[in-house]
């Protein structure tokens, strides 16, 4: 499949990030909008808390745009929990027409790419897209009960408790950024079976998508101020750089960033780094959109990565299939188009 | 319990004790008839190099023996017990023999001999106490 070129340059007009208590320690906490004091967020279960995160984030986004839910054509959302129920139930609360998506942690960019495409094609005028993840709910589903004293290896990643969402509309001058292109990833599998080593498993998926994006657009690393991967964390990020070098794509250290490495920088208990769909969403919708808006950077490529496993597949000794979706964003163009 | 004539004598050899354990040798003698038995058993335990600290209580129908096993020999505790038991059964076939290296049994037996020595118990009470200790010992799990 070819890279999608959004001729009309749809605009991201507002964004909002809601995060949990632990994320307050993030060096980028200043860029998140709402914080909850405890993991339950006044709800009875972690799953319900995750739904509340998404609702809070979406309402924040609407509020900033000065819009009501009725004015939005459609919401695209996804998460990691069984049958993406937190997203489904949040959609019920919000009452906005809804498309559920699943690309694991790459759901954030899948949603953004689709929102951009639907707006660009003229099917929609205003699209909401967001993702959520909750550390305890994810642990419960994929690993062990939260209070179980299992030892995590240093390759493990810490699921981010947060939700991030954006409102995408047709091109307007008053925007945070424009969606320029999107490359949909292929599922790649390098035969990693350890669910505590997902960063490594996702490395080829990320490298492949980046390579295809460059090949199909005729662009190179030099065209981008930043290339930001989703949640590869320490191991995966280093591996991607090696793979890209072999593919003759050379990225400099300050150009090639990873949300999973950044979001918990300096925090020991997270092992290799952050993960979860909200990891890339919080960093991109919170931090990097600000950089684009301010004009600190002109053009970035966000490559969200996802490990498409379930507890069932890895117990059946299936290796972990992975995917990465890339969306390029450019800073607001004053003159519009 | 059937009324019986009771003779009980305890001899204690106590060496190398932890802080909370009672110390000091105690000799209790009521009737002379079992004196030989007690001395013999106690001597045998003293001669066994794996063992230390012993309490021997002998009535004319019952012989209760408790001792401690040196820690590094505790692996062979069960076989030592077996050897001791067969020696005792052979030597005193007419007696019910109760043998234990259990710390709790040792303590109870020690407390009993203490009480017996100070004359707190009459023969019947003493026999009841011994029965209680034997019952405790026979509990398996």
């Amino acid at each position: 499949m070819k890279t999608w070129h959004f001729q009309s340059l749809p605009s991201i007009v507002s964004s909002s990030v809601a995060a949990g208590p632990f994320e307050k320690n993030s060096p980028y906490a200043d860029y998140f909008d709402t914080f909850f004091e405890d993991l339950y967020m006044e709800e009875k279960s972690f799953e319900k808390a995750q739904r509340k995160l998404l609702e809070t984030s979406v309402q924040g986004t609407l509020q900033k745009a000065g819009m009501s839910g009725q004015q939005v054509d459609c919401m695209i959302a996804g998460d990691l929990i069984n049958q993406i129920t937190p997203s489904n139930i949040a959609a019920r609360t919000l009452g906005i027409p809804y498309l559920g998506v699943f690309s694991a942690c790459a759901s954030s960019m899948e949603g953004l790419a689709l929102a951009g495409a639907l707006v660009d094609a003229g099917y929609s005028e205003a699209m909401l897209t967001g993702v959520s993840s909750h550390n305890a709910a994810t642990e419960k589903q994929f690993r062990y009960p939260t209070e179980y004293g299992g030892q995590k290896p240093p390759t493990a990643q810490w699921t981010v408790t947060a939700a991030g969402s954006v409102l995408v509309t047709g091109n307007t001058a008053d925007s945070l950024a424009h969606i320029e292109k999107a490359t949909i990833g292929r599922v790649q599998d390098i035969n990693v079976t350890d669910p505590f080593n997902m960063g490594a498993a996702m490395s080829l998926a990320a490298a492949d998508t980046i390579e295809r994006h460059f090949n199909q657009t005729g662009e190179s690393a030099r065209d981008y101020d930043l290339i930001i991967t989703g949640d590869l964390a320490a191991i995966g990020h280093a591996a991607v750089k090696d793979i890209l070098n072999k593919k003759q794509i050379h990225l400099s250290a300050d150009q090639f960033l990873d949300c999973g490495k950044m979001i918990y920088q300096g925090l020991d208990e997270v092992q290799a780094g952050g993960s979860g769909p909200a990891c890339s969403a919080a960093m991109v919708y919170g931090y990097f959109l600000k950089l684009l808006k301010e004009g600190t950077v002109n053009k970035v490529l966000v490559v969200a990565t996802g490990a498409l496993l379930s507890p069932l597949t890895f117990q059946q000794k299936e290796s972990i299939p992975c995917i990465a979706h890339a969306v390029s964003l450019i800073k607001p163009q004053k003159e519009g188009r | 319990m059937k009324k019986m004539m009771l003779t009980a004598i305890s001899i204690l050899f106590l060496t190398g004790c932890a802080a909370f354990e009672q110390t000091g040798p105690v000799h209790v003698k009521i009737h002379d008839s079992e004196n030989g038995t007690v001395k013999e058993v106690a001597q045998r335990i003293e001669d066994t190099k794996e063992l230390y600290d012993s309490v021997v209580v002998a009535a004319d129908s019952t012989l209760v023996v408790s001792y401690k096993v040196k820690h590094m020999n505790r692996f062979q505790m069960k076989s030592i017990e077996k050897k001791m038991k067969s020696w005792l059964t052979e030597k005193y076939p007419e007696k019910e023999i109760v043998l234990s290296s259990d710390y709790k049994i040792f303590m109870e037996l020690y407390a009993f001999s203490d009480k017996w020595q100070t004359g707190e118990l009459n023969e019947q009470e003493a026999m009841d106490e011994i029965e209680k200790i034997i019952k405790l010992k026979k509990e398996m799990t």
Binding site: L39, Y40, F46, N135, A136, E139, Y144, P145, T146, E147, G150, Q151, D194 | A18, F20, E21, H71, R74, F75, Q76, M77, K78, Y103, M140, T141
Partner: protein, 118 residues
């Protein structure tokens, strides 16, 4: 009694090190590790080795999960001596029941009074 504390520490600690090596070197999950240790406890007792270890190390051998396998086998063998082959089945939980019932009871009570903190 004092040497007992020392050996409980050493033996208990060593059993845990074996578990750690199974997890780190053989990359076994906690569930695999613990199941293997339980089976090892039963096998050791089959050769009459676990009871002496308990005599020697006390809680150092009864507290690790290996003692669970030992206790199951112990109960089964005890009943088997009395009732033959049928006893193998009936005696199984005779010795171990306290650990399992305690876990069920305290697990349930825990569920009533606590919430996951994470």
């Amino acid at each position: 009694m004092l040497p007992m504390f020392f050996w409980a520490f050493i033996v208990g600690g060593l059993i845990c090190v074996i578990g750690q090596l199974m997890m780190d070197v053989l990359k076994m999950t906690p569930a695999h590790t613990l199941s293997t240790l339980v089976v090892s406890g039963a096998i050791l007792e089959a050769f009459g080795l676990y009871e002496p270890l308990i005599d020697f190390a006390g809680a150092g051998a009864t507290v690790p999960i290996t003692s669970f396998g030992n206790a199951l086998l112990h109960g089964a063998m005890q009943e088997a001596e009395k009732h033959g082959v049928i006893g193998v089945m009936t005696g199984m939980f005779e010795v171990t029941s306290s650990g399992i019932s305690a876990a069920i009871i305290f697990g349930f009570i825990g569920a009533l009074i606590f919430k996951p903190k994470a």
